[in-house]
Every structure is written in C-alpha cells, then in structure tokens.
C-alpha cells in the first residue's frame, strides 16, 4: 500500500473511440510527486491515456479521478501538436504564453515575467534566439521551446507524450535533466516513452501498457523480459466486428 497521496486515480477505466477500446480496464493510482514512464508498443493506448487525463477524451466506462486537481494544474505536451510552425511569432512570445496562469488574456508582462521567460529560454539553451520567429527553428529546437513553455506553466502535473521524438542525444540529455528537476521539485510527471534503456535509467516507476495494463510498479520489476514479450503479443489489431467486452468471462475476441 502506498502511503503518499494519489494525484490521479483510475478505476476500471476504459478509453477508446467509437465504442472500440484503445485501452481498457485500467485500475490503479499515480502518487503525487511520482515520476512515471508509460511504455508499450505502438497502439498500446499510451497517448489515449494521457488525452483522457487532460480531459480531451471522455471515458467509455469506468472513472478517472484527479484528486483536488483541476484541468489548469496539468501541463500537457501532446505527441502531435497542431501548432502552425509558420505562424509569425517569436520564440520569446511563444514561451511567454506559458505564463498564462499569471498574466491571463489581458495583463501585461512585467519585468519579472520577462526575466522568467528569458530564464526558461536559457534553461533550454535557446536564449540567443529569443527574437527569432518560430518558423526558423529545427525540429529539436522547436521541442526545446515547448519544454521552455512547460517550465513556465509551473504545473503540479506534467504529461509528456513521446517528448523526445526527432531530438538529438545531447538535447535528450538536457531535457531529461529538466524532467528530473521537475521530479525533485515534487511535481507529478507522466511520460509516454519507447526507449526502454532510457526508462530503466531515469524513471523510478513504469506502467507497461498493451491495450490493457500488463504491469505497473517499480521499473525494475515491470520491465522484465517476460512482461515485455507479453506486451508485444497482445494484439494491436482493430476488429471492426469485435464482440462486446465482458471482462468477467474469458476474452474471446482473439
């Protein structure tokens, strides 16, 4: 039994699109301040789970409780952003949007806010480019900018969906330092990842998904060869004529 306060609690949670579950029957909780990796093959339901936590997706059944947290306490870095990268906006302006909780729609950015933005840009190593338009950035630099914005959001819960795609090794190392800093600061961080070695080295706890929970707990106990093999076996196939799922009986859809 955990002694810490849970931040997020799932109870027999099933998520999906059009009645077809992407991931089903998740039960468990994420403790406050936990650094949790969510691992699994493509189509395992990692992104779906994160989307449900931010409220972009309603559960098909079961419940998801955010203990005392509101939507505004959660910062979310989606896997596919619909950000228009040709939009004429400078790095500085883009990152300063992270201060929305303090400046809102109408207040101006004071000297301290400016300092915070510069500091965030400095943390991700892009301070010299502050006045450049976003369109001139490379893919990895762009991802760093999004991290800088997350920094300013100062959120209690941070959800990262495949945050390191298209990012070079040096940048990944920098970004992982950031994540570890968030962990030390007592924030709850959930990250969907697929680099198993990375997870073993940096993430104390892991949730292994394959359209259902395969294993959940301390990383060393979860990422065993047996569990990983099992997660790969579970079908990814979308069955248009799937039966109604009844978990109490043996699954017959395979």
């Amino acid at each position: 039994m955990k002694t810490t306060v849970p931040a997020i609690r799932f109870d027999n949670l099933t998520l999906g699109y059009d009645r077809h579950p992407a991931v089903h029957h998740i039960t468990g909780e994420v403790a406050r301040g936990e650094l949790l990796a969510i691992v699994g093959p493509n189509g395992a339901g990692k992104s779906t789970l994160l989307k449900a936590i931010v409220g972009e997706l309603k559960p098909l059944s079961g419940t998801l409780k955010l203990d005392g947290l509101t939507r505004r306490d959660i910062a979310y870095l989606p896997q596919v952003t619909d950000i228009d990268r040709s939009f004429p906006i400078s790095l500085f302006d883009c990152v300063s949007m992270g201060l929305w909780r303090t400046i809102g729609a109408w207040r101006g950015l004071d000297a301290r806010g400016r300092e915070d933005v510069i500091h965030a840009l400095d943390t991700v190593g892009l301070v010299e480019l502050a006045d450049r338009p976003m369109g001139t950035l490379s893919g990895g630099q762009f991802q760093r900018v999004l991290f800088a914005r997350l920094l300013l959001q100062d959120a209690a819960v941070i959800l990262l969906d495949e945050p390191f795609r298209a990012v070079d090794t040096k940048t990944v190392a920098d970004l992982i330092h950031l994540i570890e800093r968030w962990h030390r600061e007592g924030r709850t961080v959930l990250a969907a990842l697929h680099d198993i070695e990375q997870v073993r080295t940096h993430f104390p706890r892991t949730l292994l998904l394959a359209r259902e929970v395969v294993a959940w707990g301390d990383t060393a106990n979860v990422l065993t060869p047996a569990n990983l093999a099992r997660s790969r076996q579970i079908t990814e196939a979308f069955d248009a004529h799937a039966h109604v799922c009844d978990r109490d009986e043996a699954r017959e859809t395979a």
Partner: protein, 288 residues
C-alpha cells in the same frame, strides 16, 4: 500634383463620403483578414461573403432598399452559414473548408435567385457590387459603428485570438476562452463583411479584408507588424481606387480592390520577407 489628389474630395461631397466610408472599412477589415489568413481560413471569408447575399436579398424583398433590413438579413445569414459550417465540420467527416464550400455555393445561388425574383438587374448589381459613391448618412454611421465595435473587440480578444490561431490545443488547456474567442471572431468577420458590402458589394467586401492581409505577410514577421502593413496598404489602395475611378470614370468598388491587388503583386515581387525578386537574386550566404 497635390491638386489632382485633393481636388475631387474638396469639390464633391459624395467623394468625401466614399473616402470616409472606405477608410473606416480599411481600418478594421484588414486586421480581421490577417487573422483569417493566419488561421488558414481565407476561404472562410469568401464563403461568408457570399452567404451574406441571400440574407440581404430577403431583407430587400421584405423591406425594399432599406439599409437596416438588408444589413440585418446579411448579418443573420452570414453568421448562420459560418456557424453551420463549423458545426458540420465538427460533427461529420467533412473538413471545415469543404462544408463551407457547400454552404456558400447554395447560398450564393439562393441569393441571386431571390434578388432576381422581385428586383431588376440594377438592384442585383447594387447588392453584388455596392455603391460606394452613394453612401448616405445611415450607411456611413453603420460602417463607422461597426469599425469602432470591431477595433474595440479585437483589442480585447487579441491575445487569446493569437494563441487560438497559433496553438489552439494549448489555449484550450490553459483557459476556457477558446470557444468564446472563436465565436466572437466569427461575429467580427460577418460584421465587417456586412459593413463592406454597403460600400463595395458582397463580392468585393472580401477583397479589402483579405488582399491587404496576404500582402502583409511579405513585409512583416509578427502579427502586429502584419496588421499595420495591412491597414496602411488598405488606406492607400482605397484612396488610389477612388481617384482612379474618378478620373478614369470606372466603377469604384473594383478600382479599390484592383489597387489592393496591385499592391499584392508588388509585395509578392519585392516584399522583404520572401518576395520573389530576393529569391532570384543570388546573394552570398552569411556566416551564421
């Protein structure tokens, strides 16, 4: 020289009215166009512009050439099509641009049909191409009021609107303002097209909204800069169009839009942000 530029406005009241009307439109339609372009909704402006026609026609059929009835009808029809297209896009497989295309073709056809049922072709021309040289007090007041309301509203929703264009997902995650902002913006688009249609007609009201905005992208690298360039070019184009139409005795609405178009071509060629000539000119690359 100065005389040539000023004399028509000094001499004729209708030219002064036309000037005031088109400058008021030039003050607010281009900034809205900038946001339409940045949201990749340029065609949305076009579609709503066409949708205004049947509304104005119904107003005309019910109340004759009444400014109020036609504006109200146009506003209602434009807003209805904008909202319906958004709704269809959200709840069916169609993308917003496809559903808009569907709606506006239907409404344009309906509008032409309605106008020709009772009116004659002169009325149709009036609605389609506007009468900037015959703006009465009521029309001027309407245009000026819409300009005032639009500028104030834009100022209030500026930051959420920029964020809504740039990163909707993020705005939705930090604030509940996303949908209200989008809705208010649509209202502004429709309002400005209604204002423009008094002067320039439904077909060309979209021109003064979009042409300066697309030109501005060749000159500025931030939203504020684009808005300034767009408004300035709309001002110049309005005056140029009025003068050309006065001296060459050609219709005013098309002259204004063609002036905007000329500036667009010029920007495309020599604009400092990605103009064609700069690309063709081989220049040595910099060190960093």
């Amino acid at each position: 020289m100065i005389d040539t530029l000023v004399q028509p406005f000094v001499e004729f009241a209708f030219m002064r009215r036309a000037l005031v009307g088109s400058l008021a439109i030039s003050l607010t339609a281009p900034p809205i166009g900038v946001f339409l372009v940045l949201r990749r909704m340029s065609l949305m402006g076009d579609a709503i512009g066409h949708a205004i026609l049947p509304g104005a026609a119904i107003g005309y059929l019910l109340a004759g050439l009444s400014l109020f009835a036609m504006s109200l009808g146009g506003f209602a029809a434009g807003l209805a099509v904008a909202l319906a297209a958004g709704l269809v896009a959200r709840s069916t497989v169609l993308r917003e641009d496809a559903s808009l295309a569907g709606f506006y073709l239907v409404s344009l056809a309906l509008g032409v049909l309605l106008v020709s049922m009772r009116g004659n072709s002169v009325d149709l021309l009036h609605v389609l191409f506007g009468t900037v040289l015959a703006l009465d007090d009521g029309a001027l007041l309407l245009i000026a009021s819409i300009a005032t309301v639009s500028l104030a509203t834009l100022a209030v929703i500026y930051r959420p609107l920029v964020l809504e264009c740039f990163d909707t997902q993020f705005l939705r995650s930090v604030s509940p303002l996303s949908s209200p902002t989008h809705l208010l913006f649509l209202v502004l688009v429709v309002l400005n097209l209604v204002a423009g249609f008094q002067a320039l007609g439904t077909l060309m009201a979209v021109g003064i909204m979009l042409l300066p905005a697309v030109s501005a992208r060749f000159w500025a690298e931030d939203v504020g800069g684009m808005i300034c360039v767009a408004v300035a070019s709309a001002f110049v184009s309005s005056v140029t169009g009025l003068l050309v139409s006065y001296y060459a005795n050609v219709p005013t609405g098309p002259a204004v839009i063609l002036a905007c178009g000329a500036f667009y071509l010029l920007s495309m060629l020599v604009g400092v942000r990605g103009g064609l000539l700069w690309r063709l000119m081989p220049r040595k690359h910099l060190e960093a």
